[in-house]
């Protein structure tokens, strides 16, 4: 049994609009189970682009992506959707919640989609996650009536609902003030250390990166250690 959760092999990506530009060239790295990894680099160096590929949402690339021992290359759209649902939790920079639903329903949504547990079980699990993040009081609030920091914690709870192999974040603290950033970082740290959750977080925040277990530094579409 290999210990590798995610592996990128020779990933190269071009944008063709307006001219053909190579944004990622020959990215090779792997993330082990339980790793807490930060990706840093200057603005425009291709961090987000890489993360969208790693999260299987972007399929227009060259090279290989392995998640949980399975290749993601030339998989069907619905198969990739299933992988995202089951094995990846995603936290965005902007707190993307579904405004039409309550906090609890937002957290439950990927769990209901997975259909592994009954609706009641999913609800219990969602409440557990919210409790773990200290926001169980917000459960029944409409998701557009809570603060930015709270939204980000709801998004983390949602990312956790299906016990994913890996949680990915694209500057999850980028849009938060100092205090809320601190809270969110503490949540990640707790997840990594107490629950051995694998985390791959893109960040601009050097102090955030320094406190993770490992930093992948990027420059002009390449990894520079």
């Amino acid at each position: 049994m290999s210990n590798i959760t995610l592996e990128a092999k020779n990933i190269t990506k071009y944008f063709h609009d307006p001219t053909t530009v190579k944004v990622l060239s020959d990215i090779n790295f792997s993330v082990n189970k339980g790793d807490f990894v930060a990706i840093t680099g200057k603005s425009g160096c291709g961090k987000s682009t890489l993360l969208y590929i790693l999260s299987t949402m972007d399929t227009d690339y060259e090279g290989e992506l392995w998640i949980d021992g399975e290749s993601m290359v030339s998989r069907k759209e619905f198969e990739l959707a299933k992988v995202r649902n089951e094995k990846i939790g995603f936290v965005f920079q902007f707190h993307y919640l579904l405004d039409e639903f309550s906090v609890l329903e937002n957290v439950m949504m990927p769990g209901l989609k997975l259909g592994k547990h009954s609706a009641e079980e999913v609800e219990n699990r969602a409440m557990e996650k919210l409790k773990m993040l200290g926001i169980e009081d917000l459960a029944l609030k409409p998701s557009n009536q809570i603060s930015g920091g709270e939204k980000q914690r709801v998004a983390i709870a949602r990312a956790l609902i299906n016990d994913p192999q890996i949680i990915m974040g694209d500057e999850p603290t980028g849009n938060l003030d100092q205090k809320n950033s601190q809270i969110v970082f503490e949540v990640f740290k707790q997840l990594a250390e107490e629950f051995k959750q694998t985390l791959l977080i893109v960040t601009h925040d050097q102090s955030f990166a320094n406190r993770t277990h490992r930093i992948i530094n990027m420059e002009d579409g390449k990894i520079v250690v």
């Binding site: 987000s48 969208y52 999260s55 949402m57 972007d58 759209e77 619905f78 959707a81 299933k82 995202r84 649902n85 089951e86 995603f90 965005f92 902007f94 993307y96 919640l97 579904l98 405004d99 039409e100 639903f101 949504m109 990927p110 209901l112 989609k113 997975l114 259909g115 949602r158 694209d170």
Partner: protein, 419 residues
């Protein structure tokens, strides 16, 4: 798969844009209700007009046509395979109009499973004398029981008692137009002359109004016995046998059967009235066309609302996809939205359409030519409701298909980046 979740999400999206969806649904409701009302009314009208004809027309009529003998003597001398015979000025033979052996034919017909009922008849041309002038007309000798049962004769008798022609000897029911020309009132006696010149006084016991004025100016009815007396014929003399079948559509086939079997002329209703179905067909076609056009307009309404909704809900679609919903799930969500607009809008439309039909059914519609009709005719045929429901679902499905496909193809990366 996860249909409950998909419906739940569809419901939330729909309720978030409740006003617009309501407007789209009202569009469907409007078109379906118009469709139902229009079709019910048109069908009612068709039934009425068809009834005018069908009620009084036998499905098959047996009679003897006056025509030249098809076996001309020369044919027995010179075989037409070898020679070509020219015969000039052939005249119709003095053939009898009487149906030979009519009691036997009637007995056979009564045993036939395909026959609903039969009514014997004598048709004879006469003159009605009114002072100095003669008015040409026709006396129909009828059996009042079977004529009433099969051809609703009694409904068209506007004054007097139809059964009186059977009970009172030498009595007659005159067409209203004819009676007006003769200045005849109930109880008056009119003079009837046969072609041979014999005169008969007949007592007027009723008036008859068919809805077709030309008919009412010439037709009159008496009992078979009276007409037999008029023509000085024995009591098995009849000229027509009118047959009503259980299945109207079989009339042409059965007419051919009887013509061969009884060696007689037989005409079926389809041949005798080839044009009447065209009118019904055109009216039905127009109703369907209007209904379908209305539905297409409603379909565009749904299409617009859905496109707008998808545009507004790009973020929602992106999040759903990022958290593991496949394109097909997203498509199902928006299809459910479209179909529920169609379902609820259509259901309301069916109910409203029924209401409209019921209202039309109450509007007074009185015409002298149709004494039995008091309000506008409406048909409550359930098949229109089924068609309306199916149409509304199909239209909304099609209207929802393209927007929902678009939604399913939203690239979450583009949306997430774009924020």
């Amino acid at each position: 798969m996860n249909i409950k979740l998909i419906i739940k999400i569809a419901k939330s999206l729909l309720l978030a844009r409740f006003k617009q969806t309501l407007i789209a649904a009202v569009g469907v409701t409007f078109s379906i209700s118009m469709f139902i009302a229009l079709l019910s009314f048109m069908a009612g009208l068709n039934d009425l007009l068809d009834g005018l004809l069908l009620n009084r027309t036998p499905h098959v009529r047996l009679y003897n046509e006056i025509q030249p003998n098809i076996h001309q003597p020369i044919y027995s001398q010179f075989d037409t395979n070898i020679t070509h015979n020219f015969i000039h000025s052939i005249k119709s033979a003095v053939s009898r109009q009487e149906i030979y052996n009519s009691p036997a034919i009637i007995r056979t017909l009564k045993k036939d499973q395909r026959v609903m009922g039969i009514a014997p008849k004598i048709i004879t041309p006469v003159f009605f004398n009114d002072g100095a002038i003669d008015i040409t007309g026709v006396v129909n000798g009828i059996d009042i029981q079977s004529e009433g049962k099969l051809f609703h004769f009694n409904e068209y008798v506007t004054a007097g008692e139809p059964a009186d022609i059977e009970r009172l000897s030498n009595s007659i029911i005159l067409g209203k137009g004819l009676a007006d020309q003769l200045l005849a009132n109930l109880g008056d006696v009119v003079q009837v002359a046969t072609i041979n010149g014999d005169r008969f006084p007949l007592r007027v016991v009723g008036f008859f109004q068919s809805g077709m004025q030309d008919l009412d100016k010439t037709q009159s009815y008496a009992s078979i016995a009276t007409v037999q007396k008029l023509k000085e014929k024995p009591n098995n003399y009849i000229t027509d046998i009118q047959i009503k079948l259980n299945d109207l559509a079989k009339a042409p086939e059965i007419a051919k059967d009887y013509a061969r079997l009884f060696d007689i002329d037989a005409v079926d209703i389809q041949t005798a009235n080839a044009s009447f179905e065209t009118g019904s067909f055109v009216r039905t076609l127009i109703s369907y066309a209007v209904g379908v056009v209305l539905l297409i307009v409603a379909g565009f309404g749904i299409y617009n609302i859905l496109n707008m909704m998808i545009y507004e809900k790009m973020n929602t679609i992106a999040i759903l996809k990022a958290t593991g919903f496949a394109g097909i799930d997203v498509q199902k969500i928006f299809l459910v939205i479209a179909m529920s607009i169609g379902f609820f809008g259509g259901l309301a439309g069916l109910i409203l359409g029924f209401g409209l039909s019921a209202i039309i059914d109450q509007i007074p519609f009185e015409t002298p030519s149709l004494p039995s009709v008091k309000t506008y005719p409406v048909s409550y045929n359930p098949s229109y409701y089924v068609i309306g429901a199916v149409f509304s679902l199909i239209t909304t499905f099609l209207a929802g298909w393209f927007p929902s496909r678009k939604a399913s193809q939203v690239d979450p990366v583009v949306i997430i980046r774009g924020k």
